[in-house]
Each structure stands twice: as C-alpha cells, then as structure tokens.
Symmetry: C2
DNA sequence: GGGGACCGTTCCACTCAGCGGTACGCTGAT
DNA sequence: ATCAGCGTACCGCTGAGTGGAACGGTCCCC
C-alpha cells in the first residue's frame, strides 16, 4: 500500500465523468473502483473510492453479487467470473484476439520475449493480449490494462498512424514523465512519430519503465494508412536487442494485416 | 473441509433468474443477451431476447453506451471495450491466467496443438485461456465461453476431482448428447471419472465435436485433493495422438500446481 | 405506388424502486 | 473501558425510471 507519487493508478477523485445519480452509474462506479491491481476491496474502501453513501454501496454491491458481476468474500468484494465471461464477448477485442493469436504465438516462438497486442482507445493504449514465458521481464502492462501512448512502443506505433487530430491532441496534452528517459518534449516526440511513419517501427528505451526495451510495429488497415492495432516485443536492458526481432515483427504485422483486411475488420 | 457453497442442485438452466424489475437487472439482461457468437444486435433483437419493452431497452442501452459497456453502430449495438477492460480485472481469472500463461506457452511449443485452460463454474466449464497456432482444429470453445462438463476432457478432469455432491449433481442431471459418441450413460461416465482419479488424465474422443480429440489433466490444489483448474491439449482425428502429449501435459499441471500452491491460490 | 411490416426514436404522466440519514452490533487497537 | 472503524438493518420520502402510445423512416411485396 505504498502511496508512491509515481503510481498514476490512483483514481483522480474528482474526474469521474460517470453520473452517480443513476443506479447504473453507481453500479459502474463500484465496478470501476477496482483498479488493475486490486484483488479485493472491503465495503468501506468502495465507499471511499466512489464517494457514495455506505448503505447505497452496500445495496448496489449486493445486487451486483446477485448478477455474478461481483463476488463477496469474508474480506471484501472482488470482481467475479461473470464479468470475465462478458468481457471476452466484447466484439472488436474478441475478433482481433482470435485472429491475431496464431501470429502472436509465432512471434513468441521466434523471439521468446514478451509479446504484446494493443489497440488505441482515446489517447491511451489498451492491451488486448500479452503473452510471455518464464523469463519475461517485469512489465507494468496487463491484458485489459491501459498505458499512455507517448512512452510506449505500441503507443507510438499507433499514434504515428492515427488521425492528425489525435496526434495533435496527445502532443498538445500532458506528457507525464514516468522515468528519466520519458520523452516529454512534444517536438521530439513528433519527430519520432514521423520516423515511425518512414520505417514502420517504433521503439521505447526505458521510457515507461526502467530496465525495459521495446520494439513495436503497426498492423495497418487495407488502405495502409491507418493502424488497426500494434504488436510489440519487449525485453530487459542487457540481453535484449531490438534489432534482432525486427524482421519477425514485420512479418507478423504484415501477415496479420492482410488477414484482417480480407476479413474486412474495421476495428 | 471446504463448505460446498456451490450448490449445483439449484442450477436449473432457467436462463433468466435475473430480476427484470430493477434497472440493474435490465442492464445485465441486455448485456447477457449477447451470445458468444453475436457480434452485433439491433435494438429490436434485444427487445425480443430480453422481453423488455422497446422504450426501456432503448433508454437502458443508451445509458450503457454512456458508460462504455455498449457501443452503438448504424447496424445495432455491440459489447464495447469497457467491458473487456473490466472483465480482465476479474480476480481469480486474471491471477490464474497470468500465472499459468508461461506453462501454457511451454505446452504449446512442445505440442503445437491447441491448448486450453479451464475452470469449473457451477456445472459447466469456463475457458480462461485458449492458445493455438495456424493449424488449430476448429473447436467450439472460446476464451470466456462455457461447455458442459460431461463431454469435454477438461470437464471430466475437473469433475473427477470435484466434491462428491458436484459429481452426483452432474451425473444425476441432464447429459445432453452432442455427437454420436457423447457419453450419456451416468454409470459409464462415473467409471471414466474414477479412472481419471487413478491416472490423473482425462480424455475426450469426439464427444463434444466430431473430428476432435482431447487430453486433459487437472491442476491440483496444495492438498492434492481438489482441482483448481485443468489444462488440455486438443487436435483433430487423424494426425493427433493424445498419448504423445501426456508427459508434457503432466509436467505442465504439476509445475503450475506447485506455483499456485506457493502463492496460496485458492480459486 | 400504395399499403403494410418493422424499424428506431420521442413524449410524458404515473409510481414504486431506489435512496440515504440514522442507528445498531461487532470487532480490534488503545 | 473507550473508541474508531467496520458491516448490516430499518424505513419514510421522492424523483428516477417506467412503458403505453404515437411518430417518421425504410424496405418489400402485392
């Protein structure tokens, strides 16, 4: 429970756009109160995070338990299996995952490093898949988790091929520093993005997490102008050499891209 | 020891136990109206499946869209990315998945056949992971999807090690025939389950899907008495020889089991 | 080209589901 | 013994939620 200033995971208390004056809003607020690393939260903690009255949380949570979205243990509540089942039915993520999995497998087998598949969601990256073996570097990413775009290889790959308005929005917004090497200068980042467009590859060198290197490539749509997703290979500083994996990565994204094009996958 | 909270008896497959007279119930009903294979449903179809009045579905669906649980397109609604993100935070599934992934990878690499990870949920199997390459057999299973226990290798592996009440519940209930080879005789199935306890391996030979073979093994808990999950290897009749993969499968489940025990994973 | 079936959307007056202040019993730490 | 914090229970008020009715659009078939 180290309240380190670094972990941006803390809910910025005020900025919850969700309306808390409707039942559904309260229910969603309770579910979203669970961060990516929270296994179990007691009622009081849910009250604190949501700002809702205690009896209200108690009642809504009980309803959620009835619907198998929440589970009650003697130590608190946790997100239940029903949510997992529903989540895996999400249209775009499921399709992308099923089509991409063989290519991710190939890539893992050739590299034996952690392989990510991510899509853009607003101004952030959402990881749709993360596969790795026993020796994988300790990465902050999680399947279903989010990361900023400006400090991750996948983020840069996606941002480079995104609509100009999106790129401008991210460059013009906050570029929070996560490590000493995080690129916080919009101009420099913009240059890098242009290079990504030229080479088709994006890099991250300890910009989101110290000790971590990463190469990514975009999965392009049928026109070759936009990115449907991006794939990355990640490893620790020292043994990991990004260049080694570039051809395998390129092979993966082009193959996946053409299959998605054939399926008319739009995202 | 474990108070069998999971009373399988009451689990009659009445699809709608959910109360439709509360907002939350309606919302869940709408989300659950999406089957594993439904990509997109028009409003009218949601009305049909849920039995709710049209304006009600319209309004609740709009709310769900506002919370990023549903997405609206010109052709209808579909489950949105927000659900995927939430689902991947489900406590038990996420932990199991993260710990197991490296072992599943190993297993895939050694077999190059479709690998499944599943847990018991009531009287059914829920697949937590499914990984495979380009040549994978066409299986009806999906990550986050359900299958009956009596006709799948993973199901038999889980059922054999489940509490006697659970086994009795399944054997005493319906054993729907899915193929000519589905085992629908409770006695025969019971014999097979006993053999699973002796050998630590469960088989399926075209019992859920024609043309498909499968071997599974349970991931045992610290006591070695109950199954926390099960792993299977699947392939098509013809090239696929279950015996070939038995040792790799055994290695995977024992390794995973001991890691979970060390972590005091309970399920 | 007109009628009908089905669609998504909007309106609005009624009412009961949801609300949350208040209160209670139960831990542990002090 | 005291207290702070927890989960739970009660219950009268009220506005969020409701859904019948109606409207405009599209498609297809006669």
């Amino acid at each position: 429970m180290a309240p380190d200033a670094d972990s941006s995971g803390l809910d910025t208390s005020g900025l919850d756009t969700s309306a808390l004056d409707t039942v559904l809003g309260k229910a969603v607020a309770i579910l979203r109160a669970f961060g990516p690393d929270d296994r179990m939260l007691p009622l009081a903690e849910l009250v604190r995070r949501t700002g809702l009255p205690k009896p209200t949380v108690h009642r809504v949570a009980a309803d959620l338990v009835g619907h198998r979205l929440l589970e009650k243990t003697e130590h608190g509540y946790r997100l239940a299996g029903g949510l997992f089942e529903l989540g895996m039915r999400a249209a775009t993520e499921r399709t992308l995952l099923e089509v991409a999995m063989p290519y991710l497998q190939d890539l893992y087998e050739r590299t034996h490093e952690t392989v990510h598949l991510g899509v853009r969601e607003g101004t952030e990256v959402v990881y749709v898949a993360k596969i790795g073996g026993h020796r994988q570097a300790r990465t902050p990413s999680r399947t279903g988790g989010r990361m900023p775009m400006h400090c991750t290889a996948i983020g840069k790959a996606l941002l480079a091929y995104a609509a100009p308005s999106v790129r401008a929005g991210v460059l013009g917004g906050e570029l929070p520093r996560r490590t000493p090497r995080t690129i916080v200068a919009p101009g420099l980042l913009n240059q890098q993005l242009d290079r990504v467009l030229e080479t088709g590859l994006a890099y991250e060198r300890e910009e989101s997490t110290e000790g971590l290197l990463c190469v990514a490539a975009p999965v392009l749509d049928a026109d070759g102008t936009g990115a449907l997703a991006a794939i990355s290979v990640t490893g620790p500083v020292g043994r990991f050499r990004p260049e080694v994996h570039e051809s395998a990565l390129r092979a993966a994204v082009t193959a996946l891209g053409s299959v998605l094009a054939r399926r008319r996958y739009r995202g």
